[in-house]
Symmetry: C2
Subunit: 219 residues, 2 copies
């Protein structure tokens, strides 16, 4: 069977990066197709007709959508390499729980802080810091969320690192001060090629975020 | 090892029902603890400190939260019976996708219709019908979402059936007219003891919903 793998993605997407890291971890060769979210391609609309969102993994013509589901799919299909998932069902449930938590919390709270002023801005900022402190608590004293090895939850969370400079600059706080253990974990992750080569530069993400806010007339 | 299983739940919860069905399918004996959501127990707050929500499964003192994650946990721990999950990774990704879709769409859209009037009500109603038509499309001509057998996505979706009378009455539409294939599927599911014994009566759910709206002063 031909093994044609295509990823529809946008370079700055926190969620697209999960798929890129997972593919790199499994050494899967794929075609990367950059999407312009203001002018989505017919292929994206066809392959994710329900949400019209990136990332979409297209494997031999079939589409898989939603980043956490894509990462699990990659893990299950390319199973010749070590699984991303912990072997214990309770640990697996915990990893899924925290990925789900980050899905529900990080992006929406960042948007609240980024796009508002005054009281709502302050609320968003405190919430965003509190979310990362909570995630730091879940790391505890482990090397990686996966324990001694980089796994599903590490893949789920490390993309946020590329947005840290934007979070810090708009929020006027320092991740290093707020979450030193989490920052040490980001450094360990960034030593992996699968991560460092999949994440864009933090300043480039910040410049992108500034340009979007200007384009929205909110600056 | 002792196998102590406790479910913190509320009888009318669409999400708690998923856990009940999964436990019944695997013939797991457990203690059911009804929660009063207006006065949550210290055990619930301790066992789900992040979301303070039901359902929570407590297995030998450890808590598992979020209904879709609970169902996967039950599937993986009590693996002496057939898995809820399709054997094919693509089918598994699809099952996860539609459970996630229903998580994101059904309850919020129902609330939009239930708690609003005028244009927003009409919008909510049309959206709710459209969601179930979309879910019916995903069933296609299969007996169950799991194919010939009742599986993960069936467990994820069938609890909504117990709310259909409330949806229909507040929305002034008929599921039988809008989604006849989906209705035929609900009948097949309800022939299973694991489902029929886990779902409350539709009229009881409706009365509950009426009483909540009154208590909110919105009637």
């Amino acid at each position: 069977m031909a093994n044609e793998v295509i990823l529809l993605d946008t370079w700055a997407s926190m969620f697209g990066m999960r798929a890129r890291i997972a593919l790199a971890e499994k050494s899967v060769k794929y075609e990367y197709k950059e999407e312009d979210l203001r002018n989505k391609s017919p292929l994206l609309l066809q392959m994710n007709p329900i949400h019209n969102k990136i990332p979409v993994l297209i494997h031999n013509g079939k589409s898989i959508c939603e980043s956490a589901i894509i990462v699990q799919y990659i893990d299950e299909v390319w199973n010749d390499k070590a699984s991303f998932m912990p072997s214990d069902p309770y640990e697996r449930a915990q990893a899924r729980f925290w990925v789900d938590y980050s899905d529900k919390k990080v992006y929406d709270t960042w948007k609240k802080m980024w796009l508002s002023k005054g009281e709502e801005y302050e609320e968003g900022k405190m919430e965003l810091i509190s979310i990362f402190k909570t995630l730091e608590g879940a790391l505890s004293d482990k090397l990686f969320y996966g324990g001694d090895t980089f796994g599903f939850l590490d893949i789920g969370l490390i993309p946020f690192y590329s947005w840290f400079y934007a979070f810090e600059t708009y929020g006027n706080f320092k991740m290093e001060t707020e979450c030193p253990k989490l920052m040490a974990w980001t450094k360990r992750c960034m030593e992996k090629d699968s991560v460092s080569k999949s994440l864009p530069d933090q300043k480039k993400v910040y410049d992108f975020v500034v340009s979007i806010k200007k384009a929205l007339g909110l600056d």
